[in-house]
């Protein structure tokens, strides 16, 4: 009973945090939706940890709790891979931005040099 209370409250606290972050526009929709979906699974499980026992038996896992731990680790691993992928995309984007910026600066410098040249030959 005590354990159910602890896990249940933790789940609800997480839900509240995510909804509030979404409301304040600190989380982009795609991540928010992911975490909300996770909580929809986690909260019932935290209140009724025995829910997965049948599924666990079907898969040959000794208890539902072990199954949850296993799935949790697999999920976190996937999240890590996803984040690495996102960071790679971001790095590629900043690289493109830096190139664009350098090209613009080169064009402006060339323009300025040409103008200065013109002024000095006129004067």
């Amino acid at each position: 009973m005590k354990l159910t209370l602890v896990t249940g409250l933790t789940g609800l606290l997480l839900l509240g945090t995510i909804v509030e972050l979404l409301r304040r526009r600190q989380l982009r929709e795609k991540y928010g939706m992911l975490w909300l979906a996770v909580l929809v699974v986690v909260i019932p499980l935290s209140l009724f940890p025995r829910l997965l026992d049948n599924v666990a038996e079907l898969l040959g896992v000794a208890s539902g709790v072990s199954l949850v731990l296993f799935l949790g680790i697999v999920f976190l691993l996937l999240v890590c891979v996803h984040l690495s992928w996102e960071v790679s995309a971001l790095e590629e984007e900043t690289r493109t931005l830096a190139e664009d910026f350098a090209l613009l600066r080169a064009e402006i410098d060339a323009d300025r040099a040409a103008r200065d040249e013109l002024v000095s030959t006129d004067g």
Binding site: L22, R23, R25, R28, E29, K30, T96
Partner: protein, 233 residues
């Protein structure tokens, strides 16, 4: 100038080299005296070059940001260059620029005017989940905006200075955010929104997607975006 107002037409374009020249040409032909800004949203084809040749100012994004990202750039340009009115038009040629003066007229008493299909003109129809999504979005957004809105995902809209200023600093880049969330945000801040019926034409190039699975996903995402927009402040 349209009705004495400095007007900018913003056309977000992604790989539209097939239609962009005709769209820019038609806008400049029908509306002499307006400026046209094509925001090239990271196209891999010759969209930017074709649009420049057709007489538009082109802002080329270094990579794809989505319609929302392209439009915020458009509104920033409008704000920085002191335009009275900014009008968004799709690059595929489905919006008829002859409706623009009508939209601009209505900006006298409204802040954001939307050119809407299904509102009496034209013969545009959709069925299935896409239709349900549109009905749901219209019902909820009409209540939020205190005005009848039938085509909430329309990419044909006119904004006055107040709304340009707001969109220049805040414009969501997320999917459907550029239409649905901006409407909720605009209405919540007390701006007046109105729609005018417009007839849509067939796209000049490209084809719309019609798979039922995609339509269901669209319905789900529309619902999620709407819920999120309503709980957000």
């Amino acid at each position: 100038m349209v009705n004495g107002k400095r007007t900018l037409i913003i056309i977000p374009a992604l790989n539209e080299s097939g239609s962009i020249a005709d769209v820019v040409g038609e806008v400049r032909g029908e509306l002499p005296g307006v400026d046209v800004l094509v925001v090239d949203d990271g196209s891999t084809d010759r969209t930017a070059a074709v649009a420049t040749a057709a007489g538009a100012t082109v802002a080329k994004l270094p990579y794809n940001l989505g319609v929302g990202g392209a439009m915020r750039l458009g509104y920033r340009y409008a704000r920085d260059h002191n335009y009275d009115v900014a009008i968004q038009i799709d690059a595929d040629g489905q919006h008829d620029p002859r409706y623009v003066p009508k939209l601009v007229d209505l900006l006298d008493d409204n802040d954001l005017v939307i050119g809407a299909r299904f509102a009496g003109e034209g013969d545009y129809t959709v069925r299935g989940p896409r239709r349900w999504a549109m009905v749901m979005l219209s019902a909820v957004l009409s209540r939020v905006a205190h005005t009848k809105l039938t085509d909430t995902t329309s990419g044909f809209r006119a904004a006055n200075r107040r709304v340009i200023d707001m969109f220049a600093t805040w414009y969501p880049a997320e999917y459907l955010g550029d239409t649905v969330e901006t409407l909720v945000h605009t209405a919540r801040r007390g701006y007046r929104i109105r729609q005018v019926p417009v007839a849509m034409r067939k796209r000049m190039a490209g084809t719309p997607s019609h798979s039922p699975a995609r339509a269901m996903i669209y319905l789900g995402r529309a619902f999620a975006v709407l819920t999120l927009a309503l709980i957000r402040r």
